[in-house]
Amino acid sequence: MDDHAFRTEGLVKRFGRTTALAGVDLHARHGTVLGVLGPNGAGKTTAIRVLATLTGFDAGTARVGGLDVVRDADRVRRLIGLTGQYATLDEELTGLGNLVLIGRLLDLRKPDAVRRAKELLDRFGLEDAARRPVATYSGGMRRRLDLAASLVGRPRVVFLDEPSVGLDPGRREDLWRVVRELTADGASVLLTTQYLEEADALADSIAVIDHGRVIAHGTPSELKRIVGGQAIAARPRDPHRLGDAARILTAVSGHGAERTSTHELVVPVDDDRSLFEVARRFEEQGIALAEFSLRLPGLDEVFLALTGGDNGASDRGAPTDTATARSRA
């Protein structure tokens, strides 16, 4: 039997002339988290929909728990829980009503379904809103209820499609805790995100996906080594000093500084000691700073690093150094 929690090989999905997935290989071992990182339209949601038996595909294979998602769709549905990008809830029912309904559809007896629903409402801090229609919930409450809904059947494989979108920072921490609890219980998770920070915090391995292809795959530390791990962001108080600041950043890091907004510069660095060197040189040259920070690269910088730097995130062509990224992964 397949020892992967889920696995796709050469997955191809076309919508008319658009190719959403152009041969995607994704896999995760039992009890691990695969982070799928990519911009909007990269194919993340399509990949999840295929694995969750919601959509068909044109070529390749997709298996969950060793079961084919097409031939054994019904058995696959017993193993999975899905939290989509759009809350998959019945607005007119209460929070409790939604969860009980799902429990009943999962063949739980009524009292068991109610008990399970209450347990999950407590766990997601929704006990006070349990008897209110979902239509009255805030965006963050819906996301939490949606996540709870996907866990009613104690799924072995959980698909989370950009679960942190619309969550307050504090609630995002809660979400991360839930994901960690899931894997601690032995479940496996596929999590899509646009934030390297999130993938780094949760995933055992990360697949970077763009234009329907996996352009890099590896552990977070392998990936961070490729993309330069951290980045320094600096915003000189005087916009006229941007040129001087860029020269310093380039000299210290050995990478070209990228302007991410009108007055901000970002450059990938290999280790955090660069920060002190940059700070020293800024002081030497008397460049006053409005903002100065060390952070994990954003999606744009990840793509910049993975695609060779000659095509920005706004216009990503075929990756040039995919082979490098793959071989190091």
């Binding site: 919601l54 728990g65 549905r77 999975i80 019945d90 029912l93 009503g97 999962l106 063949d107 009613v152």
Partner: protein
């Protein structure tokens, strides 16, 4: 299933052992979804009352406006009119609610939720339609109450009256698969609504509802003669007031079966394919 991992993991709540035979599961899941639909009706009874108000309005208007001139007295006319109105109540509720509810569900995420659960593909459809049958029953019961207050009395026996109610509900059930099919096929809920509204007039009024078919102009007679709602109304009239059935019961049953046989598979296929 998943191979055992060294850490003790709780058994999935939905293990294969808990999966009884398919038809029984389909029915149970459908009934759970019926409960969902009815719970929503209980919260928002306005939508359901539509299926009662329109026929009730026709009943009152026609009886008191035309009753005297058409049948000589309002009491005599009520006897003629009421069975058709009851059929309208059952049919109209079906046309308006089923297709619309499904159309709205499918556009919302809840549709994906259902499809990612290990339930039969047709369970959400069947559940919604079974809930409708309950709603028709409520509509028909309310109409009988209004008819009773206006002076309508069943002229036959209890068995025939029950037969009439069963026939109306069966007809409404089969008819609603047409709007269910449309509701699944068409993206825009207003289009579904519009179709139901436009179809309502020829289907329910181009019949023997207000006057016998042979009093209608030729072109309308031709339509009313093939219209399944005419047969259902004639059959209900025969069962409730003892007029001659003239094969209308059989024709209603055949029409109902035909509608079901054509539109149920179409709707289920379209539903399963939508993604």
């Amino acid at each position: 299933m998943t191979p055992a991992t060294p850490t003790a993991t709780p058994a999935p709540a939905t293990a294969d052992a808990a999966a009884p035979r398919r038809p029984a599961r389909l029915l149970r899941h459908s009934l759970v979804l019926t409960g969902r639909s009815l719970a929503k009706s209980a919260r928002n009874p306005g939508a359901m009352l539509n299926g009662v108000l329109t026929p009730a309005l026709f009943l009152v208007l026609f009886t008191f406006l035309f009753g005297g001139s058409v049948a000589g007295s309002t009491d005599a006319y009520l006897l003629y009119l009421f069975p058709g109105i009851a059929v309208m109540g059952a049919g109209l509720s079906g046309m308006l609610s089923s297709g619309l509810a499904i159309n709205i569900d499918m556009k919302k995420g809840v549709f994906d939720r259902f499809r990612s659960l290990p339930i039969g593909r047709s369970a959400p459809l069947l559940g919604s339609i079974l809930a409708d049958v309950v709603r028709y029953a409520v509509a028909v019961a309310l109409l009988f109450g209004i008819g009773y207050l206006m002076g309508f009395r069943v002229q036959t026996d209890a068995a025939s009256a029950l037969g009439a109610v069963a026939l109306m509900l069966g007809f409404g059930f089969c008819l609603s698969w047409v709007t269910v099919f449309l509701g699944v096929l068409v993206r825009d809920e207003n289009a579904v609504m519009g179709f139901a509204f436009i179809a309502f007039i020829p289907l329910m009024l181009g019949t023997s509802l207000a006057a016998p078919v042979d009093t209608l102009p030729g072109w309308l007679q031709a339509w009313a003669g093939v219209n399944p709602a005419t047969h259902a109304m004639d059959a209900a009239r025969a069962l409730l007031t003892g007029t001659p059935a003239d094969g209308s019961i059989i024709r209603t049953l055949v029409w109902s079966a035909a509608l079901l046989a054509v539109f149920c598979p179409l709707a289920v296929a379209a539903y399963a394919r939508r993604r």
